[in-house]
């Protein structure tokens, strides 16, 4: 009974925490972008502008929820839900600290890859159901980009799996007690971060929603909370990728002095800041450059990384 209550508490906590962090990121991102552009950012509503999140929420919730008459209604409504659901489901496998985590799956990593593949449906459906050529172009780009980067993302993680000898994220974290995998798997880390940025289609890889070419890409026709779902989905995705980078390459909850959960949250927020720094810095590549970079650079490098890691592990016995 106590065990069941505890797991329910963890589930609710993780769900609420992920959504709260995603909402808070609206403010964090705007303040950080401003910080790096010598501006101030939203600082008027509440202390440090923290209540800006509330203001934005009230605004987006009270907006007219409109479905265009030319849209494929059922799919149009379904699409934004998918991205949030898949991103939140992926949080289930993340080990936050010893004993804190929703499920302890033996195929944890594969589950994450499966969920991020399902996330492609969201953008593809959204682009298709909008009945708008720019949305469709955005959806097509998103599908192509996410499918290609999925490949290297999976391959880059295999090095970690070889070193840890398991797909279970908890085992992977425990295997990093002596040395974080960011040292032996540096290439894997770089590839995973790049693929993660592409997977959440954030800048510099935000071609599916490139404002300068496609209005807003696949969510051009969305308004109100349906658009908000894409927004929240993106931020949950950022949090998820950061949490995974920490879990897989930076020792998860491992760290001296501070309690494990604090270490995990600290490292994760550092990587979220890195995501925002990337957005503040980089220009957007052309779409053919994006795919060319993926298949001509990332794929060979990740394969070589896998090969070398396997060979070294074999040679050591």
């Amino acid at each position: 009974m106590c065990e069941a209550a505890r797991s329910i508490l963890v589930v609710v906590g993780v769900l609420a925490g992920a959504i709260a962090i995603a909402a808070g990121l609206i403010w964090v991102e705007r303040r950080l972008l401003a910080l790096w552009q010598d501006r101030l950012g939203p600082n008027r509503v509440g202390p440090f502008g923290l209540l800006q999140v509330m203001a934005d929420m009230i605004k987006i919730m009270t907006k007219e929820d409109w479905v265009p008459p030319f849209a494929d209604r059922a799919v149009f409504v379904l699409a934004p839900a998918i991205i949030v659901v898949t991103a939140l489901l992926s949080f289930a496998i993340i080990p936050f600290a010893p004993g804190i985590g929703v499920v302890d799956l033996n195929v944890g990593l594969l589950f994450f890859l499966a969920m991020s593949s399902l996330g492609v449906y969201s953008v593809a459906f959204a682009g298709w159901a909008s009945g708008n050529k720019y949305s469709l172009l955005g959806g097509l780009r998103a599908a192509a980009q996410m499918l290609s980067y999925e490949v290297f993302m999976g391959l880059s993680l295999m090095g970690v799996v070889i070193l840890a000898g398991s797909f279970n994220l908890r085992t992977i974290v425990e295997a990093q007690e002596d040395m974080w995998f960011c040292i032996p798997q540096f290439l894997g880390l770089v590839i995973f971060v790049i693929a993660g940025v592409a997977e959440t289609h954030r800048l510099p890889f935000d071609l599916p929603e490139a404002e300068t070419e496609l209005v807003a890409g696949y969510h051009t026709e969305y308004s109100g909370m349906k658009f908000g779902m894409f927004f929240v989905g993106e931020y949950i995705g950022v949090t998820l990728i950061s949490a995974l980078v920490v879990t897989l390459f930076f020792g998860g909850w491992n760290g001296p002095v501070l309690p494990p959960i604090v270490w995990f949250l600290l490292k994760t927020s550092l990587f979220i800041c890195l995501f925002i720094l990337l957005r503040a810095t980089f220009p957007r590549p052309r779409f053919d450059q994006l795919l060319g970079f993926g298949w001509k650079v990332m794929l060979p490098v990740s394969l070589a990384n896998l090969l070398v890691t396997g060979a070294v592990t074999l040679a050591r016995g």
Partner: protein
Amino acid sequence: MGKSMVSLIRAAWTMLTHTFRRRVTVQYPDERIRYFPRAKGRIILSRDPDGGERCVACYLCAAACPVDCISLQATEDEHGRRYPEFFRINFSRCILCGFCEEACPTYAIQLTPDFEMCEYHRWALVYEKEDLLISGPGKYPGYNFYKVAGLAISGKGKGEAENEEPPVDVRSLMP
């Protein structure tokens, strides 16, 4: 490829160093930048050092105005001085270009550094003469058009203005 990678990382580093730069934002209602006297903002009508209206209702400002926001009607008082019967500036049209100030022969119409003219109603942006007239001479203290102009008004005949010589009788033969 490698070169561009390095340049991207350098760019990210540069961005990080901006964390400690001075902010360029001026938090407007709390902080203000200094406006100089010749900054072009709200338009006013100024007065002579004596307190009389400078405006002689010559319509040059209305003619110069590119957006036609100035309207006025000339009239004359009992001393022969021209003045505007009404003078109206529609600030919802005004682009604060300052052409009226340049056109004005008597320094009557002037632009001030004040720009805070927000209103909840459009009609409130139409300023009448009593809203525009100020009590002082504005940017040109000491200048009095009727004191330097050759025009005869009551209390000042021909040739009695400052730096003005008495009029020459062109029909006389005497040198």
